[in-house]
């Protein structure tokens, strides 16, 4: 279980998180929605320790994330970055098996490559892709490789940051289905950051909406449409009119 209590983060005078309270149950798929620049990505970066919160506490299975051994803690996580964040200089299979080629989880190269090819197959990519460089792949293929890397070491917790941004609707649907299948199959706890409502409906068990640096609403995905919260209502229906200010 992941619990955030009163998490705050500011960059100078920009108060991005103003006291975020959120609980993600073990094995649940939580999708965090919210407008651009509302701190969705900062939220998961705080959990991973990529950004240090100014205040509040974050615990994973009851343990404060700032007081656990970093390597063992991070070994429990997989993360799909918005742009893929694949390492340009490494072929695809070494990107996927990165964690298995070095550090505590290191395995022989042949074994790591075989696992990488297996994971690539899991996300619908053939073995012929393994030796290519990331720059030789399309955006959709890069997302799939990123997804394969995220699940390569069978993590307990997976984060997806804007998994369908920049993809055509068909490829976005494929990625959404893959995420849902993988999370269900692995029994992993997942947090997905998105503002794509199609993704929300495909991936989420639970939904949280962040606005004004706080969690505005949270509940099961099935109750989202009937939330009666005007902010949620405006966001999920993509209305220009409503309590969320928009630039026009």
């Amino acid at each position: 279980m992941i619990t955030l209590s009163g998490v705050t983060k500011s960059f100078g005078s920009n108060h991005v998180l103003r006291g975020v309270d959120l609980t993600v149950g073990k094995g649940r798929s939580m999708v965090v929605i919210g407008g651009s620049g509302t701190g969705k990505s900062i939220l998961i970066k705080c959990i991973l320790g990529l950004v240090t919160p100014d205040g509040g506490s974050i615990t994973v299975d009851g343990r404060d994330v700032t007081r656990v051994p970093r390597d063992a803690f991070l070994a429990r996580f997989g993360m799909l970055f918005q742009g893929g964040a694949l390492f340009d200089s490494l072929p695809v299979w070494q990107n996927v098996a990165f964690r298995l080629l070095r550090g505590e989880l290191a395995r022989p190269w042949a074994e790591a490559k075989s696992i990488a090819i297996e994971k690539l197959a899991r996300v619908g990519l053939g073995a012929e892709v393994a030796e290519r460089l990331p720059a030789e792949l399309s955006g959709g293929m890069q997302k799939r490789v990123g997804l394969a890397r995220a699940i390569c070491a069978d993590p307990e917790i997976i984060f997806f940051d804007e998994p369908t941004t920049g993809l055509d609707p068909i490829m976005a649907g494929v990625i959404n289905d893959l995420i849902r299948q993988i999370v269900t199959e692995m029994g992993a706890t997942a947090i997905t950051i998105t503002h794509d409502m199609t993704s929300v409906r495909a991936i989420a068990d639970d939904v949280a909406m962040i606005h004004g640096g706080k969690i505005r609403w949270t509940g099961p995905a099935s109750e989202m449409d009937a939330s009666s919260d005007p902010y949620v209502d405006q966001f999920i229906h993509g209305r220009a009119e409503g309590p969320i200010e928009t630039l026009r």
Binding site: K45, L48, G49, L50, R70, D71, L74, A75, F77, G78, M79, F81, Q82, G83, A85, L86, F87, D88, F98, R99, R102, G103, E104, L105, R149
Partner: protein, 258 residues
């Protein structure tokens, strides 16, 4: 007046903060060199990239500099009938100063810029964050192999530069200025001392460390966006070049002041 003082104070504080950040970064880099885990594959790649692939530019720079130096010394020496000192001055000039400094500056141009741009781009595209989530320390994986490789390989590059520079002078002297081959080589070898060579190689190691460190530092601290990458690249080359020249003065003072 108060505004002026405030601006001056902010400038001084900013400068001190930058020096502090650089000192901490340097300390961390050095400490990672002796602490596991190590990444030999990355070190090997950096050795190849910084060392082997820099050979053509180092060789060409040294060859033409050695040749030009021979011409200058010959024409300058002719003013007081000292044309014969060409081999000795080319040798001492290349080994003590021009070899290490020019190789250092060429490495700053070729390697520092490339390291800064690569790491800054990795930062912008979240590859550095990805490394952290994959339980890999970016300082260990990116900075340490590059800095260690540059420090190890630069003395070799400087040695190659010194030799090719002297060879450039030899070619010009023997084919253009009518020196005899045997006399030129004998004068070169007789005149050089071990201290000259030691200073040259030491400078090489120091300049390699500075060049790679500046690339890594500015890459790791770059701002977001294409402008951030461009600024990091430019700043890294400028800082590396200035620090190399400053270090050259300090090392020359240390080796030859007595």
């Amino acid at each position: 007046m108060i505004r002026l003082l405030a601006a001056l104070g902010a400038l001084v504080l900013g400068g001190l903060a930058s020096i502090g950040r650089l000192a901490i970064f340097t300390g961390q880099t050095v400490s990672h060199i002796v602490r596991p885990p190590f990444y030999p594959r990355e070190l090997g790649a950096a050795l190849l990239q910084i060392g082997y692939f820099s050979l053509p530019v180092v060789g060409l720079t040294a060859f033409f500099t050695g040749g030009a130096l021979a011409l200058q010394i010959y024409s300058g020496g002719a003013r007081f009938s000292a044309e014969a000192v060409v081999p000795q001055i080319v040798a001492i000039g290349m080994v003590r100063e021009l070899g290490p400094v020019l190789v250092g500056l060429m490495i700053a141009a070729r390697v520092t810029s490339s390291i800064a741009a690569e790491i800054a781009t990795m930062k912008v595209t979240e590859q550095i964050d990805a490394l952290v989530t994959l339980s890999t320390n970016p300082m260990k994986y990116l900075t340490m192999p590059r800095v260690l490789a540059a420090t190890l390989v630069m003395p070799l590059l400087v040695a190659v530069g010194d030799i090719i520079g002297i060879f450039g002078g030899y070619m010009v002297a023997t084919y253009r200025l009518d020196f005899t081959s045997v006399t030129y080589l004998k004068n070169t070898v007789d005149f050089l001392e071990w201290l000259d060579i030691l200073s040259s190689l030491t400078k090489g190691a120091a300049f390699g460390f500075i060049a790679a460190l500046m690339g890594c530092y500015f890459g790791m601290h770059s701002d977001r966006g294409a402008m951030g990458v461009g600024r990091a690249t430019k700043s890294s080359v400028v800082a590396a070049a200035v620090l190399i020249l400053a270090a050259n003065f300090i090392l020359t003072e240390a080796f030859f002041s007595s």
